[in-house]
Symmetry: C2
Subunit: 420 residues, 2 copies
């Protein structure tokens, strides 16, 4: 088959909860991402409810234009296996008992001390027109139908079961039947630069970048993710890979002052790596972030190697009594100030006997539209202290997360300067 | 129009990122939920990329079967307003400058100290076949097209702009043209009961419930949400509402031991309300939850009224030195024990001078498959201390969140018993 023929792929996600909005369609984004990383692309996603007519209409119409139709969900006893029955109608044939699936299910139930019976046994029944695709993560098997050179693969709706089937079954099947495009991407992570200013700076960098490169900006709470990608004919793979590598080097150099990872690592992973490498320890004092900064650090496995602990000093008295912030300092500068942030960082560093102290103080929300929510971040190590100011929008929870991420970035900047 | 004629509604979400999986389709779930709460329902969701042919094919085919087609996304200068141009082709007519939108945009830009020019001015151009729908949250206006008694409403893709337009424009428009079904729902929130055990208990309760009631179980990290709903002809509204009220009373009574809210409040909101009502103060000591428990409490506005602060005692030395947990107690019972959890709770209560002390200690992950991650939760007040054990699965981040929620539920149970 020629390279130019990329398969048209449609995903049909089946489930009333998706239409009612009680759950978000993460299966669609997971499948889309996994296909893209393998050189394929999703062309359409269609969501319908758990109803025979809706599912049948969707399958029949999508089979007209798509080369590959993926179905997801509407399987299992609580759904009356609506997708399975509908597929049997579309592709013809009766439901028959599939011996290997029955044996697999019996074994699976036995290991949990249960017997395979009743509605659970029905999961081993499949349309005789299908090839059974094993689902080692769950109970409802996948089903593959072939018609006029087209494929339909029905997958379970449980997210980790679907992801496993996409990776181990769908992608190999696609690669065997449709030569994938070559695709590679790299993600640079930036902090402390607004999207508009990045766009301005990129204007001067873009002329230096290889022509094959595609750029995408993905702004979020952890700064901006800048995706570099190349795709094309597999015979060009070496050239494209080279272009991607060159672009990554050029961009990392130009954006060094705002770059925290050129390998798509999040802030907490970068922090954890630096503390491990430098064999330093950390103590945290939080006010407006109220535990979120520490929780973000702790979310990475191995945090216990370097994190001594933290104090959430929500009440001013706690800042004074426990962290040792001088009362006079608070009276002179107010509790949300560079001076208090630095004193908190130094205070918790001493209290917990850590190499580095990191602190936040600020307002996650304000009583009036006149005062913007804002924060001071404090940093302390054996060389001294540093502070940084951040302003926010009117969204309490978002501001707490943004202040936590800003504190991590501020810490990374100081560590990179002071502990080379 | 007769009640039985519910409009068929399709949502077309437009955007390459949705197909590439770089973002999740929250607009689909938001629109579905908002429509349902207003007595309507979404029948299909279709996602296509930012391409003229794909958008045109989707609009034309959905207009055949749907009464109402909603489009979302593909507007704005960075998308070349692909949706707008395609709609002009489908419904006919040129793009014309819309005076009121131009005036609105000029004012909006002026308030930010900017001039409306270049590509931004193009946002005031709309197909002459449409009625302009104002978007006071953003820059790209909504566009309404009518054809043969059907509607197509094009909405911006920015989530909060779309939600605002659904609420203020779409739902009133639907109500004026299609009599909605009567729909009401209530959400009970339960904790500490597995779904299978709840199903068993429900078997004995269901015969007592009104026949009109529909039940849905939505398990998650904060326990199980049990949705009760009724829907039907508006002439039956009083009867249906009564049935919903009765069912809520019956279920709340039967499930009292595991119920934490009959008004869909999350654990941190319930905790905040109890502390405010009882005029109590809280201090928290965390080990495995590493700040997440405090961050969850702090996420609710007004936490500063009752939260004194918290200590994350990640290192054992911090538990001993700062929280005053006796070293001998740790040596005798190990650091993950009922005794140490209670001592931490009592210790932080004394350290920060609070009415209530709440503590967590445990393993969010273990080195081997033989030992399950688990935690002890500790509670202390002036009447004494209490402890509770929780076991988890092999997922560090999930276990940290689950332990935090379990601690909040444990605290609620103790407060309800000790402070009537």
């Amino acid at each position: 088959m020629p390279f130019s023929k990329m398969p048209q792929i449609t995903l049909i996600t089946i489930g009333n909860e998706l239409l009612k909005g009680t759950i978000v369609n993460t299966n669609a984004s997971d499948a889309g991402r996994m296909l893209r990383e393998s050189g394929f692309s999703l062309d359409r996603v269609l969501t319908v409810g758990d109803e025979r007519e809706a599912i049948m209409g969707a399958i029949r119409s999508e089979l007209i234009t798509a080369d590959v139709v993926l179905c997801c969900g509407g399987l299992g006893p609580t759904r009356d296996d609506i997708t399975k029955h509908t597929l049997a109608e579309v592709f013809g044939g009766e439901l028959v008992l599939h011996g290997p699936t029955r044996a697999y299910l019996e074994d699976r139930y036995a290991r949990r001390g249960r017997k395979l019976e009743g509605s659970n046994l029905l999961q081993a029944m499949v349309p005789e027109s299908c090839e059974v695709v094993p689902n080692p993560q769950g109970t409802a098997p996948g089903m593959l139908f072939r018609q006029d050179g087209k494929f339909l693969l029905s997958m379970p709706g449980v997210p980790f079961e679907m992801r496993h089937m996409v990776e181990t079954q769908l992608i190999p099947l696609l690669k065997a039947n449709f030569p994938p495009r070559f695709f590679r991407s790299r993600m640079l992570r930036l902090f402390g630069i607004p999207e508009s200013r990045l766009a301005d700076r990129m204007e001067t960098i873009i002329p230096d970048l290889p022509g094959e490169l595609k750029l995408a900006y993905l702004p979020g709470e952890e700064g901006i993710r800048l995706e570099l990608s190349v795709e094309g004919d597999p015979v060009e793979a070496a050239k494209l890979e080279q272009a991607l590598g060159n672009a990554s080097v050029i961009l990392s150099r130009h954006l060094e002052d705002v770059l925290y990872s050129d390998e798509n690592e999040n802030l907490e992973v970068v922090i954890s790596r630096i503390f491990h490498e430098k064999k330093l320890s950390l103590a945290i004092a939080e006010s407006l972030t109220g535990g979120m900064l520490t929780a973000t650090v702790v979310s990475v496995s191995g945090a216990s190697d370097f994190l001594k602990g933290s104090v959430t000093a929500y009440e001013t008295a706690v800042k004074i009594d426990l962290l040792g912030v001088p009362k006079a300092l608070i009276e002179k500068h107010t509790v949300v100030s560079a001076e208090v942030a630095q004193s908190m960082a130094e205070g918790v560093r001493n209290l917990l006997g850590a190499d580095i102290g990191l602190a936040t103080t600020g307002l996650a929300e304000t009583g009036s539209e006149k005062e913007m929510p804002h924060a001071w971040l404090g940093y302390a190590d054996r060389f001294g202290t540093d502070a940084r100011h951040e302003t926010f929008v009117f969204d309490r929870k978002l501001n707490i997360r943004k202040a936590s991420f800003a504190a991590l970035y501020f810490c990374i900047k100081n560590l990179r300067t002071n502990f080379v």
